[in-house]
């Protein structure tokens, strides 16, 4: 019961950070929010007993792609509005 509730909270967090990533004005904050969505997804994979997928999601989705996007934002100067 408690575990199911926890999974639901995590899934709600994925939704909230996904919506924030779309609606936030600042590109930096939006990208961090998108990375957060990936991180919550990774946590939900762990809770659903798929640690292999969770590891890839945490490293690639939350870590590397966020980093690449942040570098891209810095290069295009769109971060400073």
């Amino acid at each position: 019961m408690l575990a199911e509730l926890f999974i639901l909270v995590i899934c709600a967090s994925i939704l909230v950070s996904g919506i924030l990533a779309v609606s936030l004005r600042g590109l930096m904050a939006a990208m961090i929010s998108a990375g957060l969505a990936s991180l919550f997804a990774a946590v939900s994979y762990v809770l659903l007993a798929a640690p292999d997928v969770a590891m890839a999601e945490a490293a690639i989705g939350a870590g590397l792609s966020t980093l690449v996007f942040l570098y891209a934002i810095r290069k295009t100067n769109a971060g400073k509005e």
């Binding site: 640690p51 292999d52 590891m55 890839a56 490293a59 690639i60 870590g63 590397l64 980093l67 690449v68 570098y71 891209a72 290069k75």
Partner: protein, 229 residues
């Protein structure tokens, strides 16, 4: 007009996802195929981690495809971003804000642990969760933290490219070895399965896993560095 098409697209997505959502029922027990894999993989391949056994042996060709896609991404990024930064050393780069003390000091503590964990995930893929792909990604994210903490650090692209190509060639060579000595392309059973659960066991799975880890880690590191410079 744009708004109208947007609404239509959202509506279509809604129709598709509505069908998925209403047709969803939680699985009480693993499917027949999953049960078969769970029963046969440990005995057949000698791998305690069924997922890695499937990914590297039964679905080895798919993994090769994934690695090929990643290689194409790395090559494209190098083509698009590599030209302008060629010849620029760390000194000639535009001076960026130095990293905060938290990042630079924290990285010194955490970096060795992340590298160690990545290596552990790679070489223990057949025993515990993980494998070459995941471990390589962990190592590459550690490289990402390193370049964040030390903007002046220079990655040796030549070495990384050689390591990556060598790992790729050896990976395919291992696959062909499986074709000759065992059941088919990328069959890991041409080495003895060994004692179940031991570090050196599960045929060629640890070997393939290590090669994959080197390849993925080097590729992703180069991609990050291309974006940085």
């Amino acid at each position: 007009m744009k708004r109208f098409f947007g609404a239509v697209a959202v509506l279509l997505f809604g129709v598709v996802l509505w069908g998925v959502a209403t047709g969803y029922a939680e699985r009480g027990a693993p499917s027949e195929l999953a049960m078969r894999y769970l029963a046969e993989v440990p005995a057949d391949l000698g791998a305690a981690n069924v997922v890695t056994g499937i990914l590297i042996t039964y679905r080895g060709f798919d993994t090769l495809g994934e690695v090929a896609v990643l290689f194409m991404v790395a090559a494209t990024v190098g083509l698009l971003l590599g030209g302008e930064s060629r010849g620029t050393s760390a000194a000639s780069r535009p001076a960026s804000r130095p990293p905060s003390e938290l990042v630079s000091n924290g990285a010194e503590v955490v970096l060795p642990v992340i590298f160690l964990f990545g290596t552990y995930v790679i070489v223990n893929g057949h025993l515990s969760a993980g494998g070459g792909f995941q471990g390589g990604a962990v190592v590459a994210s550690a490289v990402g933290l390193m370049v964040l903490a030390r903007p002046s650090a220079v990655l040796d692209h030549g070495f990384l490219s050689i390591a990556e190509s060598l790992a790729g060639v050896l990976y395919v060579a291992t696959g062909i070895l499986g074709l000759i000595l065992a059941g088919g392309f990328l069959d890991s059973r041409f080495l003895p399965p060994g004692v179940f659960g031991a570090f050196v066991s599960a045929g060629a799975i640890p070997l393939i896993s290590a090669l994959l880890g080197i390849k993925v880690g080097a590729e992703l590191s180069v991609i990050i560095d291309r974006f940085r410079s």
